[in-house]
Amino acid sequence: MEIIIGKYNYWIYIALMMIGFYAMITKRNLVKKLVGMNIFQTAIILFFISTAYKKNATIPILIKSQEVIDPAQYINPLPHVLMLTAIVVMVSTFGVALAVIIMLYKQYKTLDEDEIIEQLE
């Protein structure tokens, strides 16, 4: 039990990731695949962010008058910064993928993978 409740953030991230993965593999509609991809990436972002959390800690802003700095008092800011970059990467991947989907729709007039493959043959 303890491993489930004590580390519930990891379970949530695994569950979300698997939902996204499942959508990417099984859905035949390309937009749904893309949404799955987005869930998959978001799960990883949540994973990183949740690792930064500390109990009873505050935002990492240093006050000048404070002389002794105790790292346990502050949330680790680095995962947040990393994830800002990852979000940018994610958004651009999504943008490129949507542009590709628009091109696909113009060509085949459908977004269903099976119908597209049918048209190819």
């Binding site: 993965f21 990417m24 998959f40 990883i44 991947t93 490129v96 993928a97 590709v100 989907i101 190819l120």
Partner: protein, 493 residues
């Protein structure tokens, strides 16, 4: 201030900024774009040669971005392996850029060409960035820059390329996300992202299960990016339907840079002993690569489309390199690193010839090679050299890397691996001798009456340069190994 001190950052910043400036130039005078594009890639080549000579003369270069001390700041680390990869990527990008001038005109409408050049510069930036950075998260960002530019470039090809590009996006994103997860695990355990720093911190954690998971995520992520069988599904379609210049560039550099990442992860980030002794990863990868070699070769035999044949051969070649890297001995490693260079040159040359075939004949079917030596003698001479090198016939470059790989396989007593290498050479021999027979010894009445003119000079010159460099590299293999490659071999081999 000496400009040579900053060449490792300039080589990233210049193409990155140029890709945006290029768009603005196109607003004023579109015809300038191509010259600007060539100029930038030319500067990259000069900088990469400067970096390579610096590394050879004075050892590893460490460049601290913004003056922040590592491991807090991002650091660029260039040792012999990085410099070698950077030189390959920038040189190939320049040569293929020259080639792209004529070939891309048929594939992209003229007003959109500046965007093609910008995306091409972004792809170069991403690949150079992967090869130069000393920070595993920064590496992820560059990996995605390169991949995003790759998706876009592939999608502008033939009609079917769009679907291929979409599949590549899905697969590539899974690969990148796995890599990111591996980075996350390592970060949680150590609190560092700098490769040099991590290589000191990680040995204390080798017993931890988290490291196993991290390594598994990193390796699988990279394996998707390099299209190691059975994760290769995106590659054949993408490279077959992409514009010819793009398939030449992507096949020559993207998989090779992926192999570089694999080497970094398994031998610099982790110690070789973690890779070979503590985890069974080394033997897993050896067998994985053997299957990839067999599979790629067999499927390549069954293709009728020339670019598709090359794509499957490329999958087998990726198997060669992974095989050599994971054998865990000096000979195999030298063979793999040498093969990165040789394969980049050979496969780019062949893909460029395939593009030339599309340009003149309008089809990539293997049947179209019938009697082509009459109409395109120079291209076909180049094809002969590249084909012989692919098979591995001395004195072409392909022979030497295969020789080292087989020596490595024998040293590791990996007999099935040696058989796989020979089998793959045999399959290549069947494929290419069949083509050479079609080209040079076709029966008179089978040859189509219509004669095609030779390729335009700007397409022919890069092909001939690469074909000649196959011979030059073959002749100077010993020098390349003694000057550069022997220093890339990780300690403990």
């Amino acid at each position: 201030m000496n400009i040579s001190d900053h060449s490792s950052i300039l080589i990233i910043v210049i193409p990155l900024i140029a890709s945006i400036i290029n768009i603005f130039i196109s607003l004023f005078k579109r015809s300038l774009c191509y010259s600007f594009f060539l100029l930038i890639l030319g500067i990259c080549v000069i900088l990469s040669i400067d970096i390579l000579s610096n590394v050879i003369n004075s050892g590893t270069i460490r460049y601290k971005l913004g003056g922040w001390m590592p491991p807090w700041g991002i650091e660029y680390v260039v040792d012999h392996l990085n410099a070698y990869i950077i030189a390959i990527v920038s040189t190939m990008s320049l040569i293929i850029a020259v080639y792209s001038k004529e070939s891309i005109k048929q594939e992209v409408p003229e007003p959109k060409l500046p965007y093609f050049y910008s995306t091409y510069l972004l792809l170069t930036t991403g690949l150079l960035g992967i090869a130069i950075t000393g920070d595993i998260f920064n590496l992820y960002v560059f990996l995605e820059i390169a991949s995003l530019a790759g998706y876009a470039l592939i999608a502008i090809g033939e009609k079917r390329s769009v679907l291929a590009s979409f599949n590549y996006i899905i697969m590539g994103t899974i690969g990148a996300c796995f890599y990111l997860l591996g980075v996350g695990y390592i970060y949680i355990m150590t609190g560092s992202l700098n490769i040099t720093d991590l290589s000191l911190l990680l040995p204390n954690l080798y017993e931890s299960k988290v490291m196993l998971a991290a390594l598994a995520f990193l390796v699988v992520g990279v394996a998707i990016k390099i299209a190691l069988f059975p994760l290769h599904r995106w590659l054949p379609d993408s490279y077959t339907f992409a514009p010819s210049a793009v398939s030449a560039f992507a096949s020559a550099t993207m998989t090779k840079v992926g192999i570089y990442v694999l080497i970094r992860v398994s031998f610099t980030l982790f110690e070789p002993r973690f890779f070979t002794e503590i985890t069974p990863l080394s033997s897993i990868l050896v067998w994985w690569a053997i299957v990839a070699i067999f599979f790629g070769s067999i499927i390549a035999l069954a293709q009728t489309d020339f670019k598709r044949t090359l794509s499957y051969i490329l999958i087998a070649e990726v198997g060669y390199m992974v095989f050599g890297v994971s054998l865990g001995n000096k000979q195999g490693f030298i063979g793999a690193v040498l093969h990165i260079l040789n394969d980049a040159v050979m496969i780019a040359c062949l893909f460029m010839i395939a593009g030339g075939l599309m340009y003149r004949v309008g089809s990539r079917n293997l049947e179209n090679f019938l009697g082509l030596n009459k109409s395109m003698p120079i291209t076909m001479a180049a094809f002969t050299i590249a084909a012989l090198s692919m098979i591995g016939i001395p004195p072409t470059a392909g022979f030497f890397s295969k020789w080292y790989l087989i020596l490595g396989a024998i040293e590791a007593e990996q007999w099935i691996g040696a058989i796989a290498l020979l089998f793959s050479s045999l399959v290549n021999a069947i494929i290419f001798f069949k083509l050479l027979e079609k080209i040079y010894f076709a029966k008179k009445d089978n040859i189509p009456k219509h004669k095609f003119p030779e390729l335009p000079f700007s397409m022919l010159a890069p092909i001939v340069i690469l074909a000649l460099s196959i011979l030059v590299i073959g002749a100077s293999t010993g020098k390349i190994i003694s000057k550069v490659i022997q220093f890339t071999v990780p300690g403990g081999f």
